[in-house]
Amino acid sequence: MSVARVLAGTLREAGAVLGLLVLWQLVTMLLAVPVFLLPQPIVIAQAFASNVDPIARALLLTAAEAVLGFIGGNVLGLLLAFVFVRSSLMARLGLPLAIGLRSVPLIALTPLLTIIFGFGLTTIVLMAILISFFPALVAGITGLRAPTPEALALMRALDAPESLVYRRLRIPAALPYIFAAFKISAPASVLAAMVAEWTAANSGLGYLILDAGGRYRFPLMWAAIVAATALAVLAFVVAAAAERRVIRWPVETA
C-alpha cells in the first residue's frame, strides 16, 4: 500500500470521527439532552482539561497494573504450554483443569479474589494475570504443536537436538498464535485491572469511572470512560504493531 493511500484512509477516518463528534455536539445542544444522559463533547473535553491530573494518575496506575498482569500471565501461560507440550502426562492431567478454569467467569471471580488476597494491588494484578494466562496457554499449546509431522520427521532424520527443534521449528511456528493471543489479552488485561479496581481499590480508572458516576460528576465520568477506551485501544494497537514487526512471513492460523 502506498503512503498516499494510507494517508488518504487515515484522513477519511479522522473525518468520520470528527463528523460524529460534531453531530453528537449538535444533537445534545439542540435537543438540550440532560448531562446525565449524554454530556456534550465540549463539556467532556472541559472536564478532561480541568481534571488532567487525576485522570492521568489513574490512567498510569491502571496501565501499570495491566502491564504487570499481562507480562505475568503470558510468562506463566507460555511456560505451562511448554511443559504440556513436552510431557503428555502433564498435558492429560493439566489440560482438563486449565479448560475447566477457563470456563470460570473470571471477571465474576473478582469478589472472591478480593476476599482472599485483600484490598490492593495484589488482587488487581492477579486478575490481569488470570485474564492473560489462558489465551497464552492455549496459543502456546496450539502453536508449539503446529509444525507438520513431515517437518518434525525431517528434524528427527537430521538428528537435530530438541533445543534446535524448538528454536528453528516449534517456536517460529508458535509465534503467530502467540501474537494473536497478545492482541486479545492486551486489551483484556486493561479491562481486568479496571474490574478489579471496583472491588479492590480506591484508585485507577475503573474506580474513577464508578466514583465520578456515584458523585453525579457525569462529564468527568465520560472523560474517564474515554481515557479507558483509549488505553484499551492503545494496548491493542501496540500488540498489533508488534505482531506486524515480528511476523514478516505469510501465516495461516486456524
Binding site: 470460570v104 471477571i107 469478589p111 486489551p187 479491562l191 479496571m194 480508572l205
Partner: protein, 253 residues
C-alpha cells in the same frame, strides 16, 4: 475411543484436585476460613439453594435475552457487511472502536441510563456476545466456496436463494463457534451488569463479598461457573448433533 480416554483423565485430574483440597483443608488449614473445603462449599450450595436460585433465574433471563438479541444484531451487521462491502470499509473501524470500550466502563453508564433493573445487565450481556458474532458471521458468510457461488450465478439464482442455499449453510460452523464464545460471555456480561444492581448472581457475589459471607460467595461462584460452562457445552453438543459434517465437530476440541 481416544475421546473417552481423555474424559477419564479429566475426571481423574479434577477428582484429585478436589480430594487434595479437601485433605489440605482438614489437615492443615481447618482454621483458614477464607478458602472453605469443597464439602463445605457443597453444603453451602444446598443451604443457600433458595437465594441462589431466585437470583439465578434473573441472570438466566438476562443472559438468554442478551445472547439472542446480541447474536441477531451481530448476524444482521455481518449480512450488511457482506451485502454492501462499502459499508464494511466505512463501519469496520467504528465497530472495532466501540468494541474496545471496556464493558466495565459501560456498565455504570447503563445503570445511570436505565436505572436499576433487568435492562442494564441484559444490554451488557448482549454487547458481550454481539462482537464475537459479528466477526464470526462476517467470516462465515464469506466462507462459501467460489465454485458453489459460481454455480448459483450460472443457475441464475436470486441473491436471496444464494444466501439461503449457499452462504447460510457455509456460515453455520462459524455461527456456532460464535455461540460457543457468546453463551459464557453473556452470563459473564449479565453478572458484571448486576454488580451495581440489587438482584441477580452478580449482585449476590458482590453483596456476599461486602458482607463477608464466604461460603455463600464460593457457592455462588461455583454456580455461576457451572451455568457459564453449561452454556458453552450446550452449543458444543449442538455442534456435534447438527454440524457433524464439519471438521471442527469431528476433531478434538
Amino acid at each position: 475411543m481416544k475421546e473417552r480416554r481423555d474424559w477419564v483423565w479429566s475426571v481423574i485430574a479434577i477428582a484429585a484436585v478436589v480430594l487434595l483440597w479437601e485433605l489440605a483443608e482438614r489437615l492443615v488449614a481447618a482454621r483458614f476460613p477464607i478458602v472453605p473445603a469443597p464439602s463445605a462449599i457443597a453444603a453451602a450450595i444446598f443451604r443457600f439453594a433458595t437465594p441462589i436460585w431466585l437470583n439465578l433465574q434473573l441472570t438466566l433471563v438476562e443472559s438468554v435475552i442478551g445472547l439472542v438479541a446480541g447474536s441477531v444484531l451481530g448476524v444482521a451487521l455481518a449480512m450488511l457487511f457482506v451485502a454492501v462491502p462499502r459499508a464494511e470499509r466505512s463501519l469496520y473501524n467504528l465497530v472495532i472502536t466501540v468494541h474496545s470500550i471496556p464493558l466495565v466502563a459501560v456498565a455504570p453508564l447503563l445503570l445511570i441510563w436505565f436505572g436499576v433493573g433487568i435492562t442494564a445487565p441484559t444490554i451488557v450481556a448482549g454487547l458481550a456476545c454481539f462482537f464475537p458474532m459479528a466477526v464470526n458471521a462476517t467470516r462465515g458468510l464469506r466462507a462459501a466456496s467460489s465454485s458453489a457461488l459460481d454455480l448459483m450465478r450460472a443457475l441464475d439464482a436470486t441473491p436471496w436463494q444464494t444466501f439461503v442455499r449457499v452462504r447460510l449453510p457455509a456460515s453455520l460452523p462459524y455461527l456456532i463457534t460464535a455461540l460457543k464464545l457468546g453463551a459464557p460471555a453473556a452470563v459473564l456480561g449479565a453478572t458484571v451488569g448486576e454488580w451495581l444492581g440489587t438482584a441477580g448472581i452478580g449482585y449476590l457475589l458482590f453483596s456476599s463479598m461486602v458482607n463477608f459471607q464466604i461460603e455463600l460467595l464460593w457457592a455462588t461462584m461455583v454456580i455461576a461457573t457451572a451455568v457459564a460452562l453449561a452454556g458453552y457445552l450446550l452449543f458444543v453438543s449442538f455442534e456435534r448433533v447438527f454440524l457433524g459434517w464439519t471438521p471442527a465437530a469431528r476433531g478434538p476440541q
